[in-house]
């Protein structure tokens, strides 16, 4: 029997070799997955046919154009799609850059899959859901300890929604204080997450971005010029996506506080800071964490996530209703928030995500969380040092110093020397069963890669990732054509991106696709 040789680090990978059609293309007229039985006569007599009670104007005239397909074929379809997917659980998942993607302990999935969770309904009476309310309350207490904030809500379904909620809190706070019209500006930094600018902009604020200084820290002099009586708030990530931590952050937040604004902390990059720094001591009035990133609940496809948002006690009355509270005897949903911004999501967030995060926190304890931060930083700096050994890679700013939990690298030299871009390399790594993401536009750091290994990547996995990237960089110098044509072992080889900006070529639904192509 042939023995598999695993002495070499660079793994050859082959993706499933088919291109599964869209489910609409598999549709066959008349085919059914479930034949729903006709309602019994007795029921019809009592409640009618079920349609006539809907107002006439609201009834559709034509049947919906849904795929008609039997159960077996649906199952095959989705299994094939899953085989075409480079999932986080079977690659060295460190290339999602700016999105902390770590191992999600499967036991926590089991907990969330028990009937006690899956059979809950959000409209059940409080007295019947004391268990999950207790877990939500205790998770809130943990988050308070981790951040120094005084109250958390789990209503936002993800990081960007948490940022949007922060923007709503800022607006309501200034409205109540009679300064809503005057304070129409939000300050953020170029290397904070784009949502830190986008969400407040959607809320109607003017955005002022701060560029980095020569060391990569937000330019303090520019910041001083930006802060004024028009400042509503400062939204910032620290460390930013460069992996550089701004040690003067308190001077920034103090300036804003003095000017009457609020400080909002995007803690999506908190993985290296657990047990090290806290939002409160840095002068923030509110912050959010992604339970589906830092706190290990799965991250993928936009959910189910949880943007745990915490505020100082002065801002508690502004939080979305309800919050989970405890009166010494029982847990309850507290609607008594006099300046509440209202709801930001139906019901009370994603309780499964909260449960998994709670289980993860309790399995580690305070010391364990600190250990998570330390190992994440160690892993990142090992990767950082090893990658920089290749001439193709560089990382701007604070040379010779460590980064926190991630690094935004640049392949500018590789591109200048060989014409191979970061996007080309990203396509080639797929041939080795991995991936990375070229990060946010516009590229302030040219030809970027942002890598974040977290604490759950072993040294062996890191070495494999490093060896693979070095192998590809060598290919770029010796045989660039192989990279230009990559991926070679995937279903779809290269996607023509020229239509990405052309709304005429977008087809967000099957109906639009049919209209534009037929």
């Amino acid at each position: 029997m042939k023995r598999i040789d695993r002495n070499h680090k660079v793994r050859n990978f082959h993706q499933a070799k088919w291109d599964e059609p869209i489910i609409f293309e598999l549709s066959q007229k008349g085919e059914r997955g479930i034949l729903v039985p006709e309602a019994e006569e007795e029921i019809v007599n009592k409640v009618g046919d079920g349609v006539s009670s809907i107002p006439k104007a609201m009834r559709r005239k034509e049947l919906p154009n849904l795929p008609e397909i039997n159960q077996k074929r649906v199952l095959m379809h989705y299994l094939r799609l899953s085989q075409e997917t480079l999932g986080g659980d079977f690659n060295v998942e460190i290339g999602q850059g700016t999105c902390t993607v770590k191992y999600n302990p499967k036991i926590n999935d089991k907990l969330a899959s028990t009937e006690k969770m899956t059979e809950l309904h959000p409209l059940q009476d409080e007295s019947t859901v004391q268990g999950i309310l207790e877990i939500m309350y205790k998770t809130d207490l943990c988050m308070r300890e981790i951040s120094g904030m005084d109250q958390f809500t789990f209503q936002p379904g993800g990081g960007s929604q948490a940022i949007m909620t922060m923007a709503s809190l800022v607006r309501m706070y200034h409205r109540i204080n009679g300064e809503e019209d005057q304070r129409d500006e939000i300050i953020t930094t170029i290397y904070s997450h784009p949502s830190d600018a986008a969400a407040p902009a959607l809320k109607g604020y003017k955005i002022i971005n701060i560029m980095p200084d020569e060391n990569g820290y937000p330019d303090y002099e520019a910041f001083k010029k930006a802060v004024s009586e028009r400042t509503a708030a400062f939204f910032v990530a620290n460390p930013e996506d460069t992996g550089i931590f701004n040690p003067r952050i308190k001077e920034f937040t103090d300036l804003v506080t003095k000017a009457g604004g609020l400080n909002c902390y995007d803690q999506a990059n908190a993985n290296g800071l657990l047990g090290v720094t806290r939002a409160k001591e840095a002068g923030f009035h509110m912050c959010f964490f992604n339970l589906h990133k830092t706190f290990s609940t799965p991250h993928g496809c936009g959910g189910p996530g949880s943007g745990a948002l915490g505020v100082v006690k002065e801002l508690k009355p502004y939080l979305p209703k309800p919050i989970v509270d405890f009166n010494g005897e029982k847990y309850f949903l507290n609607y008594e928030l006099e300046n509440s911004i209202g709801k930001v999501r139906i019901f009370n967030g994603v309780p499964q995500a909260v449960l998994k995060a709670y289980a993860w926190i309790m399995s580690l304890g305070a010391e364990g969380l600190y250990e998570v931060g330390k190992i994440a930083v160690l892993n990142n700096n090992y990767l950082f040092k090893k990658l920089l050994e290749h001439k193709a890679v560089d990382a701007p700013y604070i040379r010779g110093k460590q980064r926190v939990e991630q690094v935004r690298y640049t392949l500018e030299k590789l591109t200048e020397d060989t014409g191979i871009t970061s996007g080309d390399v990203a396509r080639r790594v797929m041939d080795f069963g991995m991936h990375y993401w070229t990060s946010h536009h516009p590229y302030y750091i040219p030809e970027p890669i942002t890598l974040e290994p977290t604490e759950s990547t072993s040294k062996e996995d890191l070495d494999e990732y490093i060896a693979t990237l070095h192998h590809i960089f060598d290919e770029a110098y010796e045989n660039p054509e192989i990279i230009q044509g990559a991926p070679h072992r995937s279903t779809i080889h290269q996607v023509d991106e020229s239509s990405f900006d052309d709304p005429e070529k977008w087809a967000p639904t099957w109906r639009v696709y049919l209209r534009k192509t037929k």
């Binding site: 170029i190 600018a197 902009a201 604020y205 003017k206 955005i207 002022i208 971005n209 701060i210 560029m211 980095p212 020569e214 330019d219 002099e221 520019a222 910041f223 010029k225 930006a226 014409g419 871009t421 536009h441 516009p442 590229y443 302030y444 040219p446 030809e447 991106e497 020229s498 990405f500 900006d501 052309d502």
Partner: protein
């Protein structure tokens, strides 16, 4: 058979090898030859145009005689038609005339070989009316109308001529003041715009996302400016494609390289001189909207001399609005925007941080320094 234009500036790049920082002007060329300079451009042209060999039977190359294109094309076996007899001493005038003849002959693509000076000559000949593409061979390449390498230029031309779906983009023709450059002062200036087929991975300055995003970016900036215009105030619109988007947004005629003045969203005067601008700013409330040139990021003094030191003195610092696409800011790599009005005191007064508008409701605090 598709018509392709080719103009090689055979002396482009000669100054570089002998340390002359450019080859513009007959005297410098003589000096370069005396110092032993060899012709670089014809060799680089060959590396580019040989990439068109797969379609050589489908195209005819219209070019100039001798080493302005004829020799190279015939050497490679292309179908060739000479449309201009070169005097043997290639001058910028010959490049300009050759280009305008090619426009008359309706070439599908005009390929030119040289540096920033050659791009300026091509622009003088054809403006932004036809599609062009530069094979880099000059000493100075600041204009993003050139591909990264001769080979990339050839590949890009091949794809374009094969009829692939292309975005055609207006790119800046930028040149530096060679006299200043020889004294180790780098000052770029905007001369115009050429139309080039765009594919991100082939062209110079490709750090930005996609061309359409640039266009949409400019539209968004323009909308912000238009939405916040105050009635009764004069708006002095400086040159550039970013500022042009304001005029387009208002459906007003514009001068791409000139200064236009509007009030109450109506055109007051096109292509204004310094005197016209002074007259307005001296007597009425006015605001100046300017955009940096690509590359070095000159705000004032390069390509917009009408906005003189006297104008700035009158208009006051807080009435200067700077707008810029994200791409231009990215390309600066953190270096400050530059001003060079010719008056040191004014330049000093203008230094500092400004809110540069980069999107609808989105500013960047950016440093401005004297150039």
């Amino acid at each position: 058979m598709k018509k392709v234009g080719l103009i090689i500036n055979p002396v482009a790049g000669m100054g570089g090898r002998v340390g002359l920082k450019g080859t513009d002007g007959v005297n410098i060329l003589r000096k370069a030859i005396k110092l032993g300079a060899m012709k670089e451009a014809p060799r680089k042209a060959l590396r580019g145009i040989e990439r068109l060999l797969p379609i050589k039977d489908d195209i005819i190359i219209l070019t100039c005689s001798g080493d302005m294109g004829e020799d190279q094309c015939k050497g490679l076996g292309f179908n060739v038609r000479v449309i201009l007899e070169s005097s043997g001493n290639t001058t910028s005038r010959e490049t300009m005339i050759g280009a305008s003849i090619m426009e008359e002959k309706k070439v599908e693509l005009l390929i030119f070989v040289g540096g920033d000076g050659t791009a300026r000559d091509i622009y003088k000949g054809v403006g932004n009316r036809i599609v062009t593409l530069g094979i880099p061979a000059g000493v100075k390449i600041h204009s993003p109308v050139y591909a990264n390498t001769p080979e990339k230029a050839g590949d890009l031309a091949l794809l374009y001529l094969k009829g692939e779906n292309f975005v055609v983009k207006e790119e800046e023709v930028i040149d530096i003041d060679e006299e200043a450059f020889r004294k180790n002062e780098v000052r770029t200036r905007l001369f115009g715009y050429l139309k080039v087929p765009y594919k991100k991975e082939y062209l110079q300055n490709k750090k930005a996302p996609t061309p359409l995003k640039e266009e949409e970016n400019q539209k968004a900036i323009a909308l912000d400016i238009i939405d916040n215009m105050i009635d009764g105030v004069y708006y002095i619109i400086g040159p550039g494609t970013t500022t042009r988007a304001i005029m387009e947004g208002l459906n007003l005629p514009y001068t791409l390289l000139g200064v236009d003045i509007i009030k109450d969203k109506k055109l007051i005067k096109s292509d204004c001189s310094e005197k016209d601008i002074l007259q307005i700013v001296s007597n009425s409330k006015s605001k100046l909207i300017i955009t940096p040139t690509g590359g070095q990021g000159y705000l004032l003094g390069r390509g917009n001399q009408q906005i003189s030191d006297k104008v700035i003195k009158k208009i006051e610092k807080e009435n200067i609005y700077i707008i810029s696409s994200n791409r231009k800011i990215v390309e600066l790599g953190g270096k400050p925007l530059l001003i060079y009005t010719g008056d040191k005191d004014i330049d000093l007064m203008l230094e500092g941080y400004y809110r540069v508008k980069v999107g609808y409701g989105i500013d960047i605090m950016y440093r401005v320094s004297k150039g």
